[in-house]
């Protein structure tokens, strides 16, 4: 089984490194096929491991000693247990689809080969993140996915907005990573090890204050990666990257790493329910906050990005309240339908010559039926309608909130569910149905290549059926994770299910009804609420005016006054003194032997005088 572990882990990096050699060369189709095959092999290995892992057999290997200095010993170890194998399968499955899809999507791009190299490198980093058996390995993967995300958001680096967004994402994550590092230091300081099993075994012996701080710091790291408020702005801007990247990294896998961290560190968070409640509250807030921004946005990809944010909020609610397996379950189902939604959006973008404004589309159904059907499936799943995947996972989260007695959280999520249904179908209606606005604007849409559509079908299939695996998923993951006890009455649970479904269906119905008749009038754009939402609550503006501008002027002050006047002047003075001495002393080297002899005599006399009169203290 160890062989399968190594294959699953290292197949992507082999593809990435070999492909990197061709990065500068013109497009080679075999590069795409080669990396896709390797990722697929990795997926197969993960599936074999999924079959193998059960209650009393997990795969745990130590590749080598990595860092060992003094008492610090960190082996390069990997573990495949119930949690990591679920993540591995999800990551490799979505990656395989995205790789195949990208062969079609990046067809005309001149940096075709470079794209695949980065993409495979990302998969490798993500695999390290989920498979590591210690916090340091997780951190390496964590930074690795951050790096690859930077390279892929800024893939079209000649575009200013793309490179800006890449830097924004990288810097925001770095801020959060500081929190994560502090958490790791605290763990090491107090326990003396960073191995999961040792840490979780000993964490109960620690002072509760220390555990609280560890929990807070680790969550700060998770907030950055999973784009929770107030570090959320980078995710919407990250949509500058190619669409397959948005699907793989900024929807299905990387942004869920924060949730994975909380789930993995569940043993820590069960000790500190207060921090858990905070996580859940923040998650519920983000769920509504992001969904509200998605209601009015006109950018196809940004709407889906906000929806991702909102769904991440749901996952954090579940994880914060201790229902780790439900968070993981929603993570998995979300990965399927959200990447499907994104990849469908990529098809639409291609059809519309990279136009993103959904008000300029409309009536695309006749031109691209398969994509329309796939995206509708994904939207229904996202909205949480029975029997699609989103229904099972999202509904469970609402149940958890209700069960926990946090009715306010439940209500926020309930509203969020309605909003989710509305904006998903607003998108579907505006893009695929209604008046054919694009005809007037001179667009000539066409469906994507057949193999691209075929590549998406597994995701669509899973978006439909994944929910039915709930029972086995529950049994499988709770072998490792803390189980969550439902104390709710069966009848109340049923009422909740009906209520949630009703709000989702009414959201859909409202969207369909409204946009069938041409949507809202232009007047709505005058409303204060609309302006607040379309400007993303003025938060990007606040960051720009409140943080970036003062910081820029402060840096400018330091540059002009401190650096230029003090530091540079000092350095210049030293250099000037030496240079000036040289310039003056140059005249000694006149080439005249007689004067040189005189200098020599002068030197001897000085040395003699020193020898006679200077007596160093002994």
């Amino acid at each position: 089984m160890e062989t399968y572990l190594y294959i699953a882990l290292f197949a992507p990096i082999v593809g990435s490194l070999i492909t990197a050699l061709f990065a500068q060369m013109p497009k080679k189709i075999c590069v795409g096929i080669f990396t896709s095959t390797l990722i697929f092999i990795s997926f197969i290995s993960s599936m074999i491991l999924l079959n193998y892992v059960d209650e009393d057999q997990i795969v745990h290997v130590k590749l080598m000693d990595w860092i060992s200095a003094g008492n610090l010993s960190i082996p390069f170890g990997f573990v495949v247990d119930q949690v990591s194998v679920i993540m591995m399968v999800t990551v490799t499955l979505v990656s395989t689809v995205v790789h195949i899809y990208s062969i079609g999507y990046m067809d005309h791009d001149e940096s075709f080969n470079r794209f695949f190299s980065w993409l495979s490198a990302f998969v490798f980093s993500m695999m390290i993140l989920v498979m590591s058996d210690n916090f340091v390995g997780l951190f390496i993967g964590w930074e690795g996915v951050g790096l690859c995300s930077w390279g892929l958001i800024g893939f079209w680096y000649k575009k200013h907005s793309a490179s800006w967004a890449a830097n924004e994402a990288f810097i925001m994550n770095r801020i959060a990573d500081l929190g994560m590092l502090m958490g790791l230091f605290l763990i090491y300081w107090n326990i003396g090890s960073l191995q999961y099993d040792i840490v979780f075994a000993q964490i109960v012996n620690l002072d509760i204050n220390v555990v609280t701080w560890i929990g807070i710091f680790l969550f700060i790291g998770a907030m950055g990666k999973s784009a929770q408020f107030p570090l959320h702005t980078w995710l919407a801007d990250a949509m500058e990257g190619p669409t397959p990247v948005s699907a793989l990294i900024h929807a299905a896998t990387m942004v869920t790493a924060g949730v994975y961290l909380i789930v993995r560190a569940g043993e820590i968070y069960t000790l500190i329910p207060d921090v858990g409640l905070f996580i859940a509250s923040l998650g519920a807030f983000v769920a509504v906050f992001a969904a509200s921004m998605a209601l009015v946005n006109r950018d196809l990809k940004r709407i889906i990005a906000y929806s991702t944010l909102s769904q991440l909020g749901y996952m954090f609610v579940a994880a914060g309240l201790g229902a780790y397996w439900i968070a993981l379950f929603h993570l998995m189902t979300h990965a399927f339908f959200k990447s499907l939604l994104f990849l469908g959006a990529g098809n639409v973008m291609h059809a519309m010559d990279d136009e993103l404004d959904i008000k300029k589309m409309g009536g695309l159904y006749s031109a691209m039926k398969p994509t329309a059907i796939l995206m509708s499936i994904a939207s229904v799943a996202l909205a949480g309608i029975y029997p699609l995947a989103g229904f099972f996972s999202k509904d469970k989260i609402l149940e958890v909130a209700f069960n926990n007695g946090s009715y306010f959280l439940w209500f926020a999520l309930f509203i969020g569910a309605g909003m989710t249904a509305f904006y998903s179908f607003r998108l579907v209606m505006l893009v695929f149905f209604g008046e054919k606005v694009h005809k007037k604007l001179g667009f000539n849409p066409h469906e994507a290549k057949p193999f691209v559509i075929y590549a998406l079908t597994p995701l669509a299939l899973l978006a439909i059926v994944a929910g039915f695996f709930e029972q086995s998923f529950h049994e499988f993951t709770t072998q490792l994770l803390v189980n969550y006890e439902f104390t709710l009455d069966h009848s109340i649970a049923l009422i909740l299910i009906f209520a949630t479904s009703a709000v989702a269906i009414s959201g859909i119905a409202f969207a369909v009804y409204k946009y069938k008749r041409g949507g809202f009038s232009e007047k709505i754009e005058e409303w204060g609420v609309y302006k607040l939402l379309i400007n993303q609550y003025y938060i990007p503006k606040l960051y720009k005016d409140g943080i970036m501008k003062p910081f820029t002027s402060f840096s400018k002050f330091l540059w002009l006054n401190i650096d230029n006047m003090i530091v540079d002047k000092t350095v210049d003075m030293i250099a000037g003194a030496i240079y000036g001495t040289g310039e003056k002393a140059r005249k000694m080297q006149s080439g005249n032997l007689s004067s040189m002899l005189r200098w020599m005599v002068a030197g001897i006399i000085i040395l003699l005088a020193l020898a006679i009169f200077y007596r160093p203290m002994v």
């Binding site: 080439g591 005249n592 007689s594 002899l597 005599v601």
Partner: protein
Amino acid sequence: MIGLTHYLVLSAILFAIGLVGVMKRKNLLMLFFSTEILLNAVNIGFVAIGHYYGDLSGQMFAFFIIAVAASEIAVGLGLLVLWYKKTGSTDLDSLSMMKG
């Protein structure tokens, strides 16, 4: 009575004369003379002090210096003759080929 001091004073005077000669003279031949004076001033000092302490090493060293000086002059004069044949001058200031 002539003592150690006298010899040392003589040595110092000769050394000073040699030093001035090295600094002042422009003729290469005169420079050789001056260096000879310098070396012999030192020799006088060595011999005088060696005699004063009853130690033969000073005088032995003086012989060494005489031998070295002789070989130096032999080589130096050879070079000087060549230089004279080449440039027709023994002026020190004409030796400036190495100037950067």
